[in-house]
């Protein structure tokens, strides 16, 4: 059944929503929100790959034979914390841009830059 691929489609839809926000919105904070949605879709992609039907969480306990795949969990766990740290750097850049240009709308920043030239 081709419907067995639905997890990837959800990921693609979420990823494209994030992508659209990143390219179509001019506000820098909104772009960062779009990036976090994009990022979360990659997290969901990895975690859905790790799922095994009938498996349980990868914590060894007696009487359980089938576990979900722990490796993607490890990668994503660290990626989430790294993601928030890098998002913070992005927001810090937006704050500095606001202080330098008085705006975080791309158009207005571009206009000011053109005037300076």
């Amino acid at each position: 059944m081709i419907l067995g691929l639905y997890n990837y489609w959800i990921v693609v839809v979420l990823m494209m929503i994030g992508f659209y926000i990143v390219i179509a919105h001019g506000n820098l904070v909104k772009k960062i929100i779009g990036l976090t949605i994009f990022q979360t879709s990659v997290f969901i992609f990895y975690i859905s790959i790790a799922k095994v039907n009938g498996g349980t969480a990868p914590i060894i306990a007696e009487g359980i034979q089938l576990y979900s795949n722990p490796l993607p969990h490890v990668l994503i766990l660290t990626a989430i914390v790294v993601g928030i740290a890098t998002t913070a750097v992005g927001l810090a850049l937006a704050v500095r841009i606001k202080e330098a240009y008085g705006s975080i709308e791309e158009d207005e920043i571009q206009k000011k830059d053109n005037l300076d030239c």
Binding site: M1, N27, K30, I33, I60, L77, V89, V95
Partner: protein, 313 residues
């Protein structure tokens, strides 16, 4: 949506929802991290950022039709690419075949830690995790470089004169937060040290610990919080965490084993693994907690500065 506040609140709810996805897909550790980061710290940082950059968004879009076409074509190609992928939940998918069976069957004998995620994170792939911790540390330093303030004596006095403490104004907030903070701190320590046996570990514990300190700062105001939490010390702890992690690896090198091979730490290899995991999770916890505190305090300090300069002008 024109109002960024609403968008940020929605993204917080989205974070919590994706945490529940992760629980449904058996990734308890990841869900834990996403709940504390996506729904907690990330929402908070974005709110702190929009208090400086403004709440409203220009409704004009850049070539929305072209953007939508690009998005649809990319999405269509990605979906076409998924047609060859293994179905959701198949146990025979390639991703489950190579190194993973060894983690699942051998890790109990080799590492002696029931939580496989912890043993992979802190032992099999400890070098990778060291890299991640260094990235977090670097990001913290980046925020510090972008936002930190050098206070002259005048500015400092001005800074001190702002009283943004909320605890006199709101009775319920004051009582609830005062009761909650010690429990949050204890819970963070439990998560830190119980990561071997259940979901948890240094990353989650660090974020929860930082959340407690941030809660304190929001209730009692930045002035009090700066007095309680010494910023220079926090920066030192952030650096110490990374250094501590790395030096555990160097100790195993000096004992004639590979970098971060903890069996060198004790005569019994499994006991050495336990010790090593405990130590490096501590290093991770130190760095993550202090980097989160550094990031929050710098955003807040910037806000005070921007507001005072605006009122002066």
């Amino acid at each position: 949506m024109k109002d960024l506040l609403a968008a940020i609140m929605l993204s917080g709810i989205y974070g919590l929802l994706s945490a529940s996805f992760f629980v449904a897909m058996d990734a308890v550790d990841v869900a834990f991290t996403e709940a504390s980061v996506g729904a907690g710290i990330s929402t908070l940082l974005m709110l702190a950022a929009i208090t400086i950059t403004g709440h409203s968004e220009d409704p004009v879009r850049h070539k929305p039709v072209l953007a939508a076409i690009v998005v649809f074509i990319t999405g269509g190609m990605l979906i076409y690419g998924t047609l060859d992928m293994p179905y959701f939940g198949t146990a025979q998918a390639p991703v489950h075949l190579h190194v993973v069976p060894r983690y699942i069957t051998e890790s109990m004998q080799e590492i002696g830690v029931p939580n496989i995620v912890t043993s992979v994170l802190a032992s099999y792939r400890a070098f990778d995790t060291l890299g991640e911790v260094v990235v977090i540390f670097t990001a913290g330093m980046g925020v510090l470089a972008l936002l930190s303030m050098v206070h002259g004596p005048m500015e400092k006095a001005e800074f001190e004169s702002i009283n943004d403490s909320m605890h006199e104004k709101y009775l319920i907030l004051r009582i609830v937060t005062k009761i909650l903070i010690p429990f949050i701190l204890i819970y963070a320590l439990y998560v830190q040290f119980h990561g071997d046996y259940g979901p948890g570990g240094g990353f989650q514990a660090g974020v929860i610990f930082a959340a407690a300190i941030i809660l304190y700062a929001m209730l009692f105001g930045m002035r009090t919080a700066r007095r309680v939490v010494n910023q220079a010390l926090v920066r030192l702890i952030a650096a110490f965490g990374v250094l501590f992690y790395g030096s555990v690896g160097v100790v195993s090198l000096l004992n004639g084993k590979n970098f971060l091979d903890y069996s060198a730490l004790s005569a019994d290899p499994v006991a050495g693994q336990h010790l090593g995991i405990l130590l490096i999770e501590l290093g991770v916890g130190f760095t993550v907690a202090s980097v989160m505190v550094i990031i929050f305090f710098n955003f807040e300090g910037r806000r005070k500065k921007s507001n005072t300069t605006e009122t002066k002008v």
